[in-house]
C-alpha cells in the first residue's frame, strides 16, 4: 500500500463538471538509471490508472517512465447522481490498489 492523496468534492450540483485530483506516493523508477556499482536499477512504475464513477468510466490512463516521481493527475468528471468515485492503479510488481470516495449530488 502506498500513500495516496485524493481531492474529490464532497458535494456537487447535478450536471456539474467536477475536478478530480490524485497524488500517489511512488518513486516511479524509470529503469534508465544505474546504481553506484554501474548496475541498471530495474524499472518500477505505476503503469496504469483507472477512475470510475458508479462503475462508469471517467478516465483510463497508461503511464510511462516519463511520468514524474509521485505522480500527480488532474482530470474531470460529470456529476449526475450520488455515489462512489473509485480510483485503481497497478504497479510493475502487479500490485493493484483501490481508493474510493463518496460524493453527494444535490
Amino acid at each position: 500500500m502506498v500513500r495516496v492523496l485524493i481531492n474529490v468534492p464532497k458535494t456537487a450540483r447535478r450536471g456539474e463538471v467536477i475536478e478530480l485530483k490524485v497524488l500517489i506516493s511512488h518513486p516511479m523508477e524509470t529503469g534508465q538509471r544505474r546504481n553506484d556499482m554501474g548496475q541498471p536499477i530495474p524499472r518500477d512504475i505505476i503503469h496504469s490508472f483507472r477512475c470510475t464513477y458508479n462503475n462508469e468510466l471517467v478516465l483510463d490512463a497508461d503511464f510511462y517512465p516519463a511520468i514524474s516521481a509521485n505522480p500527480f493527475l488532474s482530470f474531470t468528471a460529470l456529476a449526475e447522481e450520488s455515489g462512489q468515485i473509485v480510483m485503481t492503479f497497478t504497479d510493475d510488481h502487479g500490485v493493484e490498489q483501490t481508493e474510493s470516495r463518496a460524493i453527494t449530488v444535490a
Partner: protein, 142 residues
C-alpha cells in the same frame, strides 16, 4: 603520449557517452505515435498543450492538455516527448463520465525537446499541438 595526456583524452571521449541522455530516434517517435493512434493524419489545431517554454527542473514539468470539443467526441489524449529515451509520456482515454476532455500531470524531460499532445476523436481523426522547450536541468542523469 604521456599518462596525463592519455587520461585527459580518454575522459573527453568517455564522459559524453555516459552523460549524454539516450534520445529516441525520429523513427522510434513515429512508431510510438503510430502504435497509439494508428495511421490517421495529425491535423494541427483544437488541442491546447500547456507547458512552460523554459524548464528549470526536468524532473517535474507541469503539463496540461485539453481540446476544444465535447467529451463524447474525444476518445483519448496522448502525450509524447521526442527527446526522451522512451518517447511515450502517457495515454489518457476518456469515458462516458468524463466532464471535460482535459488532463494535467507532471512529467520528466531528459533534454530540450518538443512535447507533442495528440487528441484522438471517436471518429478516428487526430488533432495535435506541440511545444518546443528548453530544459536547463535534465531528468534521468542521476
Amino acid at each position: 603520449m604521456n599518462r596525463r595526456r592519455f587520461l585527459v583524452l580518454s575522459g573527453a571521449i568517455l564522459l559524453p557517452a555516459i552523460w549524454a541522455p539516450a534520445r529516441a530516434t525520429p523513427a522510434e517517435v513515429k512508431a510510438a505515435i503510430r502504435r497509439a493512434v494508428g495511421d490517421a493524419p495529425l491535423q494541427p489545431g483544437r488541442v491546447k498543450l500547456d507547458v512552460p517554454v523554459l524548464v528549470e527542473n526536468g524532473n517535474a514539468v507541469a503539463l496540461a492538455a485539453s481540446i476544444d470539443a465535447l467529451p463524447g467526441e474525444v476518445r483519448a489524449m496522448h502525450v509524447f516527448a521526442d527527446g526522451n529515451p522512451l518517447p511515450n509520456v502517457g495515454s489518457f482515454r476518456f469515458g462516458p463520465r468524463t466532464g471535460q476532455p482535459r488532463i494535467a500531470t507532471r512529467m520528466r524531460l531528459a533534454t530540450s525537446q518538443t512535447v507533442i499532445a495528440i487528441a484522438q476523436m471517436t471518429d478516428g481523426t487526430c488533432f495535435t499541438d506541440s511545444v518546443d522547450l528548453l530544459v536547463t536541468l535534465a531528468a534521468c542523469l542521476e
